[in-house]
Amino acid sequence: MQFDQILQYTLSGLSTGAIYALIGIGFSIIYNATGIINFAQGEFVMLGGLLTLSCMELLKLPLWAAVPCAVAISTVVGVLFERLAIRPLKLPTPINLVIITIGGSILIRGLAMLLWGKDTHTIQPFSGDTPIAIGGATVLPQHLWILAITIIIILVNKVYFYHTISGKAMRACSYNRRAAGLVGIDVKRMVMFSFVISSAMGAMAGIIVAPLTMTAYDVGVMLGLKGFCAAIIGGMSSGLSTVIGGLLLGVLESLGAGLISSGYKDAIAFIILLLILFIRPQGLFGKADSERV
């Protein structure tokens, strides 16, 4: 009985954890390319879900066409954000960057509220909602979709960063921007690319989680913060440690909500965040100066 419960919480925790991991990687990619923590990261998650919904309802697109459409539009928003808000900043001090990305996130959220209203919306699960029994626990097909898509995205990410010229150039920027510029890498373009990738990933995360949790104009805040928490646990790496960070956070949160109190579910994530920042700001797995891609 007790074991079944724990298995159940762990399984559902893994799928939310996968979402946190995707969002966290989005944070890390921008951070490593630019040194910015993009507070608007969560808004792309929200945009992904709501845009998919609109593509399906207004344009009558089938799901497989609505998803790339939504990702593309969110990516355009991400690029516009970089172009119109971050690049023209005259004094890019950390405080100014924090304030401007917060401003951007509120603006995007506010516009979403005007477009989609304050109601929560649902997206149909990708392939029905007949539960699948695993051991003594059950999972929904959507959980499997989430895990599968997350794995694919992470693999594609890995191939991009290690086996393509532009991915290697981006890694070079994260090691040393000036040196990267000196060997002929267009740093500004790489910064824009980082916004492209992370907004696309955020949007994708928002799409696959929407059938499980529903979506609304304000889901981005919490999801964004949890994603950041995953990235912090992973030491701001865009690789495996952030994925583990996300999964760990998801499972701990799910276990905490199930076994201790569901009201404090969100508090658990932030207490973990504070503890990691206080005790191991370089991340759970990182050496003091770990490789950050």
């Binding site: 805040v221 912090i232 207490i271």
Partner: protein
């Protein structure tokens, strides 16, 4: 220094006669809030504008002050005048304690950590139903009384709140001009350089963080006693952002700027009554536009525009 004092006296006189100009009514209620928000904006400005340390969790300290005062005066029927300093002391001690680990962090990390802290406090307000009444709030908080005079109307509250706000302003102006103020600005410009010159930046940052929390708590207590009702919704993440917007609009490191920012952001929604839902969009846009085009804030921006204009017309005459 003399000029500062003169400016402050003029400002205080203006505040004192303001109720006569507006003839009371609903606007008085809004002006009470301008006072509370000014106090909060100054508290955040001391931290952000002078010491250069961001906090996205100040709504939490504001809420703690309000709830501590509310709980002590209702559940434990304590005298509000006693509850207020006790609440401020507790919040200050808490901020001092958490300040040491949290202020080791810098920039983005500090922003995220304080944000997390604010959200944890907000969740506690919601979840400790026995103590705080949970999401439905805490009601029947008594008004403050002074020698038989109960502060139960908008006009009386106006003078009560502004007496405190003006005291906080005077204190902050003095602090900014003192040795501590200079040390804080040194930390803002370069923490390493400040340390080399003998500023104990670690302790000083924690002290200003605690002071800022104490002022916020005081504003919270006053809020609880004037509103006589508190609920978690007033102390969420959005309010922390609103405070940040006030400080940025008015100008980092400008005390009167904080007043201007607080006044603008408190009055703006009142004038945009119909457009209630748009205010979040406007805050976002304001934050971005200010940082991009007027990073010094309105007070400095207007002053420099004015002096440019004066110089130009002066040149024309010559």
């Amino acid at each position: 220094m003399k000029r500062d004092l003169l400016l402050f006296v003029c400002f205080s006189l203006l505040i004192m006669v303001a109720p006569q100009l507006f003839e009371g009514g609903y606007l008085m209620n809004v002006l009470v809030f301008v006072g509370i928000n000014t106090m909060l904006a100054i508290a955040l400005n001391l931290l952000l504008g002078y010491a250069g340390q961001i906090s996205l969790g100040h709504a939490g300290f504001f809420g703690l002050g309000a709830y501590l005062s509310g709980i002590m005066t209702t559940t434990y029927s304590m005298n509000p005048w006693v509850a207020m300093p006790v609440a401020a002391l507790i919040v200050g001690a808490l901020a001092g304690l958490i300040g040491f680990p949290i202020l080791k962090l810098k920039g983005h990390y500090l922003a995220m950590a304080t944000l997390g802290l604010g959200i944890i406090i907000f969740i506690v307000f919601n979840e400790t139903v026995d103590l705080t009444g949970g999401p439905s709030g805490l009601s029947a908080i008594p008004n403050l009384k002074l020698a038989g005079l109960s502060f139960d109307s908008d006009v009386k509250n106006y003078y009560l709140i502004w007496a405190f706000t003006l005291a906080v302003m005077l204190f902050s102006i003095n602090l900014a001009n003192s040795r501590i103020g200079r040390a804080l600005r040194a930390i803002h410009d370069s923490e390493v350089a400040a340390q080399v010159l003998g500023v104990n930046s670690r302790v000083l940052k924690v002290q200003i963080f605690a002071l800022s929390a104490v002022i916020s708590s005081l504003a919270g207590s006053l809020y609880a006693h004037t509103m006589t009702f508190v609920s978690p919704a007033s102390f969420g993440f959005n309010f922390s952002i609103e405070l940040l917007t006030m400080v940025v609009i008015g100008g980092l490191g400008s005390i009167y700027g904080s007043f201007l920012g607080a006044a603008l952001l408190t009055l703006l929604p009142e004038f945009l009554r119909g457009a209630n839902d748009y205010d979040i969009v406007i805050y976002g846009a304001l934050l971005m536009v200010m940082v991009m085009y007027m990073p010094g804030g309105l007070v400095r921006g207007i002053t420099s525009l004015f002096s440019k204009f004066v110089k130009k017309s002066g040149a024309d005459h010559a």
